[in-house]
């Protein structure tokens, strides 16, 4: 049993996060295209902050994105304090401070932070300042920006159930 994103010692005031309905996701990767476009001005899914993992033989399509944890494992693991709050209270990776050690990638059990293969620095979802490009790009309505209330927590947890069922993990969610 793993601690959830709202584990004891929560130290972030999180207002919004993305919730993904895995039943609606077709695995088309348009979210990756939109994300890379917004953040790198190029079409480059490998540099996207949201990633679709697939295993075709088992018909698995698993979207992975930062959960905006109240108790962020990535931030706690960063040796240079490169993972910082922006003016909206959302964690982002300061490219100047990141040394590319990938500790955060190892620490995050949700696959929510990854290495940019070009810059070799960590990248994570910053919710595009409140209007996420992936939400707009998803033609199947699989991604929504939800508020951190009871309904939102449930949606976030449901999005996790597929990847964790796949890997055989059970995840605790904090009090609702």
């Amino acid at each position: 049993m793993l601690d959830g994103p709202r584990a004891a010692g929560a130290n972030m005031q999180v207002k919004n996060f993305l919730a993904i309905n895995t039943d609606l996701c077709t695995g088309c990767r348009n979210c990756e295209l939109a994300c890379s476009m917004t953040h790198t001005q190029s079409f480059n899914p490998k540099r996207s902050r949201i990633q679709i993992l697939k295993e075709e033989m088992r018909n698995l399509v698993v979207p992975m994105v930062c959960l905006q944890c109240e108790s962020p494992l990535c931030k706690n693991a960063c040796p240079t304090n490169a993972i910082q709050e922006n003016d909206q209270g959302i964690l982002f990776v300061s490219e100047q401070d990141c040394i590319g050690c990938a500790n955060c990638v190892t620490a995050c059990i949700y696959g929510g932070i990854e290495m940019d293969p070009r810059t070799r620095k960590a990248i994570k979802c910053d919710l595009c300042g409140g209007d996420p490009a992936c939400v707009r790009a998803c033609e199947y309505g699989a991604i929504t920006l939800v508020t951190a209330d009871d309904g939102g927590y449930v949606a976030r947890r449901e999005a996790l159930s597929l990847p964790y069922r796949t890997m055989g993990f059970l995840v605790k969610e904090g009090p609702e």
């Binding site: 088309c28 295209l33 079409f43 899914p45 490998k46 088992r58």
Partner: protein
């Protein structure tokens, strides 16, 4: 000079498999400017690098792997790629397109085109990764089915997201309709390009890349994209899109049977009484477990099925398309849908075209019924109508070229020559390519499409859905009120020459861009203006913002492909239909009595295309207008240029 345009990866590869040598080159500016990409550029490459003496399965033949500027550039639906070569099944122009995720990945790996020649001494595969390419040993992959080969390549590189395009045993054994399989169950199926790959001892291509694609004017490009997307989302298309999302192409089994155009009993008729058993509802209700989509696609016509029990039980696989349901189903009078799933799956794993395989088996079923062949000619197999076990046995034999499979692996044209007698009457093909799932006796213009299609009898170079499914608004918008009336009359040959000429040019751009037919063919949303809107801001090629330049470029591509075939001996006499579709009136169903007026349509088509009506050869003036002087000069010397 540095390749100046955006939207492209900017490089192509020249791979000589005989020498094991790879040369990376900058993209040619003129390829992009004059032929855009995909089929257009492939036509230029194949025109330049092959000759009438190039045997399709020899080391000298050239296999082009192509993408286009829109590939992987967030235009929906653009997750596609293509292959082109001189085809082994037909001996003429062959191209085959496929969706999935491989096309975009090739570009992200740094390449727009890969040109393959020669023959490797031992089996190899080509790995493309972040601007680098290498040939790797594939001895351990040879003989493996397509899914296993893909898994093994991924495992070898510890990269589960490596995309692949591989052949199976059928391609290795040079089954003349061997396919190339992308992402497990998407196929560049038609015209036997898998056999060309096999003849080069190339098991496949794998790609992974993080080199992004940039746009010339990103704001303008995204805006133009958005405008096209809004057109696709127009309420007019709500039903078409909902159907594609719910049923994929399986809905066509019901829709097409209703107009009496569903090939049944080796194309004997166009109406199948048991169509419901292999139709959209039963598949959606009983077997469909998920929807899928190709890269960046908003339509999402792909679906996953599972058969929980019975002799054809299977774990999750890609569901069959309309064409597979037709080829192994109605065409062979087989209404056991689970057996069709199985046959489709086997064809994907063995790497061969379901249409040609199903049509070849249907052809043999008819020869058996008519007593032209019997079980003793067929390794003792009872190849009677609807016998799914015989179908399954033949599929395996064809892939291995074992026994009678060695004959059937050459398609209906050559099999008819082998069986002799009256067999040729029942071989339903054009230029050697088995007909796909349409019938000109129920839909005149598809007859012209079959006859003029550069790769043979199928719909994908110029099918018109305007009268097929009835889109009066679009017909009027494109051709004016008066002509629209004639065009919408599905059984009238009037104005069909112009219609198919227009569609062929439109699809030449679709296949060069490279995007999917959905959104252009069905529903018929995208048109020439789509290209005028998006290509210039994406690439920086200003001339592509000019509607006349766009239409001329489409014609340039169409003419170059036609000229490729003329050079191989194709004339008007080859641009015809098989006897069954040309002169046996439709015997049953809603289109009973129907026959196509091919000559009327052909005459009009040649007029619009700028060709001589007697031979089909292009007029010199037309070629020079389009900047195809090198084609005009060559055809002139061969006596194939009309004044």
């Amino acid at each position: 000079m540095k390749f100046p345009y955006k939207g492209y990866a900017g490089y192509y590869l020249d791979v000589d498999l005989t020498k094991g040598k790879i040369v990376k080159r900058e993209m040619e500016k003129e390829w992009a400017r004059l032929y855009l990409g995909g089929t257009g550029v492939a036509a230029k490459i194949l025109w330049d690098r092959t000759s009438p003496e190039t045997d399709p399965l020899s080391p000298e033949n050239v296999l082009v792997v192509g993408t286009g500027p829109l590939t992987g550039a967030m235009f929906s639906p653009s997750g596609r790629m293509m292959f082109a070569s001189r085809g082994p099944l037909t001996g003429v122009w062959a191209e085959s397109h496929v969706g999935g995720f491989m096309g975009p990945e090739i570009k992200y790996a740094g390449f727009d085109f890969v040109i393959l020649t020669g023959r490797s001494k031992k089996p190899v595969y080509l790995l493309l990764r972040d601007g680098k390419a290498e040939l790797l040993d594939a001895s351990h992959l040879w003989g493996r089915e397509t899914n296993v080969a893909t898994e093994m390549i991924r495992e070898e590189h510890k990269n589960p997201s490596l995309e692949t395009a591989v052949i199976g045993p059928a391609g290795e054994n040079k089954v003349l309709y061997g396919s190339i399989i992308v992402d497990f169950y998407r196929a560049a199926g038609r015209a036997g390009l898998g056999a060309v790959m096999g003849s080069k001892n190339l098991k496949g291509i794998a790609a992974s890349g993080s080199l992004g694609i940039e746009a010339y004017d990103i704001e303008k490009y995204l805006e133009a994209n958005q405008r096209e997307m809004e057109r696709l989302k127009d309420p007019l298309w709500k039903d078409s899109l909902a159907s594609l999302r719910k049923y994929g192409t399986t809905d066509l089994v019901a829709v097409i049977n209703e107009i009496g155009r569903l090939p049944t009993k080796n194309h004997w008729t166009g109406y199948y009484e048991d169509a419901e058993d292999i139709g959209p509802e039963v598949i959606a209700e009983k077997y469909r477990i998920a929807q899928e989509a190709c890269h960046g696609c908003a339509i999402g016509c792909k679906y996953i099925i599972r058969v929980p029990e019975g002799k054809y039980s299977t774990g999750p696989i890609g569901g069959p398309e309309y064409e597979t349901l037709m080829a192994f189903g109605s065409n062979c009078l087989n209404n056991d849908v689970e057996s069709i799933f199985y046959l489709g799956k086997r064809c994907d794993l063995l790497g061969m075209d379901t249409i040609s395989a199903g049509k070849t088996i249907g052809f043999v079923m008819e020869l058996c019924e008519r007593g032209i062949v019997s079980a003793k000619d067929l390794d003792g197999i009872d190849v009677s109508w609807g016998n799914d076990e015989a179908q399954a046995e033949l599929v395996e034999k064809i892939a291995e070229r074992e026994g009678i499979g060695d004959i059937l692996a050459n398609g209906v044209r050559k099999a008819a020559e082998h069986f002799g007698g009256e067999a040729w009457r029942y071989a339903v093909h054009v230029k050697g390519l088995e007909a796909s799932g349409q019938d000109p006796r129920a839909h005149q213009s598809i007859g012209l499409t079959y006859a003029t299609n550069v790769r043979g009898a199928d719909h994908l170079r110029s099918l018109s859905s305007l009268e097929e499914l009835g889109y009066p608004e679009i017909a009027s918008e494109r051709f004016g009120e008066e002509k629209a009336q004639a065009i919408l009359d599905i059984m009238s040959p009037t104005c069909k020459g112009q219609l198919i000429w227009d569609m062929e040019d439109l699809y030449a751009l679709v296949d060069s861009a490279v995007i999917c037919k959905y959104g252009t063919m069905w529903p018929p949303v995208y048109y020439y203006s789509t290209f005028t809107n998006v290509i210039a801001p994406l690439t920086g090629m200003d001339e592509w913002a000019d509607p006349k330049y766009v239409r001329d470029s489409a014609q340039r591509i169409s003419h170059l492909r036609r000229a490729f075939n003329h050079r191989l001996g194709i004339t008007r006499k080859d641009e015809t239909l098989p006897p069954r579709l040309l002169s046996e009136p439709m015997p049953t169903g809603p289109s009973k009595g129907g026959l196509p007026d091919l000559d009327i349509m052909l005459d009009e088509y040649y007029e619009y295309r700028g060709c001589d009506k007697g031979t089909g050869y292009p007029r010199e003036k037309k070629l020079r207008e389009l900047g195809l002087d090198f084609v005009a000069d060559d055809l002139h010397e061969r006596g194939m240029l009309a004044k």
